[in-house]
Amino acid sequence: MDPRLNIIDKRLENIKRIVAVSGGKGGIGKSSVASILALCLSEKYKVGLLDLDFYGPSSHVILGIPTCNPCLTGRQASGRKDVYPKEEKGILPPEIYPPTSRRAGGIKFMSIIYYAKDNPLAIRGVDISNAIIELLAITRWDKLDFLIIDMPPGIGDATLDIIRFLKRAEFLVIATSSKVVLETVKKTIRMLKETGVSILGVIENMKFKDSLFIKEAINQFDVRLLGEIGFDKNVEDCIGDKEKLLTSRFAQDIKEIILDYF
């Protein structure tokens, strides 16, 4: 018997909502949506952000989170000491943006990057599952309003594990205005519906011209289009800088979606 499986629900019991930001294709902006969604929500709520994209973790890059372990590398510079998970009856994810007078919640962040550093992680399905179970079993999130999960592309191990272990998870599916992407989005939605998980809706990202085909296609599945994020050519210049990210057009579009659906 694997004792870790039994403790996962307990680790997540004080989290009000779990949102898995998913989508079949790579490069459609899942990590950007997940990270900036977490950032925008943290203005009002207590938020956790879990990066489960083991092959290409990038939430830490988008939010500018330092990921060194100062305790082990000897880098004791102030401001960097608390950005590594602490051991206390499990693992406490570091609070990367602690609550301030302007920010009510803060963001607790957990990622494989703390352990893998910037090394490539070449692992197979069974190992991915084991690593996900380990992270879910040992991370103590405590009380959160939202746990946002940055999912890897596809409907493989990570998606199946989230469906298996996080029954309360709501899937937020990311699409772009592309017929190529749509084919995979449809498959993702079909799989999620067949497994009976909750689908919060679809966000159409990188929208650069008027078109209705994404909306019409997902309507056939009885799934809501939560909103559109316009193609923001300036967002690349905001990567790694939370203040710039918050004032980007990308964030403004996400805030509108939050007002309506979160």
Partner: protein
């Protein structure tokens, strides 16, 4: 204390299983502790025996048997088998700490000693495993 989280998971599972089996009291739990996880056995035992067990009447008197399981790895490319212990001494503190938290990190910090591939299987000795739970009905 990562050991605390794993000890908590063992007790939580044992209590759940005893409910399913209709046990009134758990008398023995047999555990296998895989070498890759590099559990501090004294800390693990202390948390189980001195902190968690006394709080749970169902498990208070249970005998906890721990058996260390050798870490064995097998290369999927050249089929070479080797022991985790052989390689542990070559890892620095940060690398072995990462494997302690998530044993799959071994695929980053270790390579097949024969062909240098990262594509190997953890055949045994990955982490904490409950072998059996005994009790009285």
């Amino acid at each position: 204390m990562h050991e605390w989280a794993l000890a908590e998971a063992v007790v939580s599972t044992a209590l759940e299983e005893s409910k399913k089996e209709g046990l009134k009291e758990i008398t023995k739990i047999k555990l296998k502790i895989g070498e890759l996880q590099q559990i501090d056995i004294d800390t693990f035992k202390f948390v189980l025996n001195e902190v968690i067990q006394p709080q749970n009447p169902m498990i208070k008197k249970a005998k906890i048997e721990l058996e260390t399981e050798r870490g064995i790895l097998k290369c999927r490319v050249c089929e070479h088998k080797w022991a985790f212990k052989e390689m542990l001494k070559k890892l620095d503190e940060e690398e072995s700490e990462s494997i302690h938290f998530i044993p799959e990190m071994s695929h980053i910090y270790m390579r097949c000693p024969k062909c240098k591939s990262p594509d190997f299987e953890i055949v045994q000795g990955r982490g904490v495993w409950i072998d059996s739970i005994e009790g009285e009905k």
